[in-house]
C-alpha cells in the first residue's frame, strides 16, 4: 500500500473512531462514579448525603437546594427492595443504568402527587429476572448494576426532607416473594 493510502486509511479510521470512543465515555465515567461512591457508601444500602457545599463530589453539579440519598446497587445476587416515605415538597426517586440512562423514575409531581404522605416500596430486579414473579411495584434494571438517586427539596425548612431521606432504605431482598 502506498503512503498516501496509509494516510487516507488512518484519517478515515480516526474520524470513525471518535464515535465508539464517545460511546465509551459515559460507561467509563459511570464506572468510576459507581466504584468511587460504592466503596465509600457501601453497595445495596441507602446513603444520605450531607447538604451539598463546595466539598460535595458524589453528584456532578449538585444542587444546594436539594438533599440527596443514593443507593449504588448490584442485582447479581438478587432483587433489591427500596422503601421511602414521600414528603410534601418536591421529591423524586430516579434510576440510572451503567450507560447513564435515566431508565425509570418515581416522583410526587404531576399525576403522581397522590404519593405524598405514602410509603413507596419498590422491588428493583435485574435484567434476567421475571418481574411477574414479584409483587407490588416492580422496576426492572436493564443492567445488573446501577445507581438509584433520591432527591428531596431542602428549600426553607429542610427537616421534612431530611426525615424522609433518613427514613428510606435500600437492601437486598432476603426472601423470594411469589405473586
Amino acid at each position: 500500500m502506498s503512503w498516501v493510502r496509509w494516510i487516507a486509511v488512518i484519517l478515515v479510521c480516526g474520524w470513525l473512531g471518535q464515535y465508539p470512543l464517545a460511546m465509551l465515555v459515559p460507561h467509563l465515567i459511570m464506572e468510576r462514579l459507581y466504584n468511587k461512591v460504592g466503596d465509600r457508601t457501601g453497595y445495596n444500602q441507602m446513603y444520605v448525603n450531607t447538604r451539598p457545599d463546595e466539598t460535595f463530589r458524589n453528584v456532578v453539579r449538585p444542587s444546594p437546594d436539594l438533599l440527596y440519598a443514593l443507593c449504588v446497587y448490584n442485582l447479581e445476587q438478587g432483587a433489591v427492595v427500596i422503601n421511602a416515605p414521600v414528603p410534601e415538597r418536591y421529591w423524586s426517586m430516579q434510576f440510572y443504568q451503567m450507560n447513564t440512562d435515566n431508565f425509570a423514575g418515581i416522583s410526587n409531581q404531576r399525576e403522581q402527587h397522590t404519593r405524598v404522605g405514602t410509603q413507596v416500596e419498590v422491588t428493583l430486579v435485574g435484567p434476567d429476572a421475571n418481574p411477574a414473579e414479584y409483587s407490588g411495584e416492580v422496576i426492572q434494571s436493564p443492567t445488573a448494576r446501577g445507581v438509584m438517586l433520591l432527591r428531596a427539596s431542602a428549600i426553607g425548612d429542610e427537616s421534612q426532607a431530611r426525615t424522609a431521606l433518613e427514613g428510606s432504605s435500600c437492601q437486598q431482598q432476603l426472601k423470594f416473594v411469589s405473586s
Binding site: G17, Q18, V25, E54, R61, Y90, F103
Partner: protein, 210 residues
C-alpha cells in the same frame, strides 16, 4: 537514496501497523475532544445566552450528547422531571471572575426553580458566605415580584451570588470560562417542554470588568 535513508524506511515499514493503530487512536481522541467542545457550543438548543438539551438522561441521546452529559451533568433527570439551562458566556464573552454580572427575572412556570453558580470543574464554588444559589423562595424581590441577582467576586447589596476560583487546580482548566450558571426548573410547565428555545428565562447582563 543513502543506506541510512533505506534503513529508516525499512524500520518504518516494519512498524507501520502499530504506528497506524496509534495514530488512529490519537486522531480519534483529538477529534472527539473537538466534537465535545463544538457540541457544548452547538448541539444544544439556545434560548438567548442560555443553552439546554432535550436529551439529558434520555435513551435517545446521541453518542456525543451522552458523552457531554456524562462529563458535565451525570445523573441528570429527564426533562419532564426537570429542565436545566446553562449559561457560560454573555453575548459570546465567556464568564470571567474579573467581571460583574446582573441577572434579572421574575417567576417561571415550574414547581420550583433555582439559579446556581458552578466552577469550571462542575462543582460548587468555595465562598465564605456558603451561598451557592438563589431559588424562587429566598430571593429579595421588588414590589412587582421582579428580582435582580448580582454575580461577582466582591460583596454586593441585595441578592449577591458570590463567585471565585474553583476548588480544582486552575492549571487543569480547559474551559474558556471561569464559572457558569445553571437554571433548574423542576416539574417545568408546557412552555419549557414544548418550546424550550423561546420560553421565558432570566436575562444576564455584563456590568463591568476590571
Amino acid at each position: 537514496m543513502t543506506s541510512k535513508g533505506n534503513t529508516f524506511f525499512n524500520r518504518l515499514r516494519v512498524l507501520r501497523w502499530p504506528l497506524a493503530v496509534l495514530l488512529v487512536a490519537a486522531l480519534s481522541v483529538f477529534l472527539l475532544q473537538g466534537a465535545l467542545k463544538t457540541g457544548l457550543r452547538e448541539s444544544f438548543l439556545r434560548n438567548g445566552d442560555w443553552r439546554t438539551s432535550e436529551s439529558i438522561g434520555a435513551a435517545d441521546a446521541d453518542a456525543v450528547v451522552r458523552a457531554i452529559v456524562a462529563i458535565g451533568g451525570l445523573l441528570g433527570s429527564t426533562r419532564e422531571e426537570s429542565m436545566y439551562y446553562t449559561l457560560n458566556s454573555v453575548a459570546g464573552e465567556p464568564l470571567r471572575l474579573n467581571c460583574r454580572y446582573r441577572i434579572e427575572g421574575s417567576d417561571y412556570d415550574a414547581n420550583w426553580w433555582s439559579i446556581t453558580a458552578y466552577g469550571w470543574d462542575f462543582y460548587l464554588i468555595p465562598n465564605q458566605e456558603k451561598r451557592y444559589s438563589y431559588n424562587n423562595e429566598n430571593l429579595i424581590r421588588g414590589e412587582d415580584g421582579r428580582w435582580v441577582i448580582r454575580v461577582g467576586v466582591s460583596e454586593q447589596e441585595g441578592n449577591w451570588l458570590p463567585v471565585g476560583p474553583s476548588g480544582t487546580l486552575a492549571e487543569t482548566n480547559s474551559m474558556a470560562h471561569d464559572f457558569d450558571l445553571l437554571l433548574r426548573l423542576y416539574t417545568p410547565g408546557n412552555a419549557y417542554l414544548q418550546h424550550p428555545e423561546s420560553a421565558p428565562l432570566p436575562t444576564v447582563i455584563k456590568e463591568a470588568c476590571s
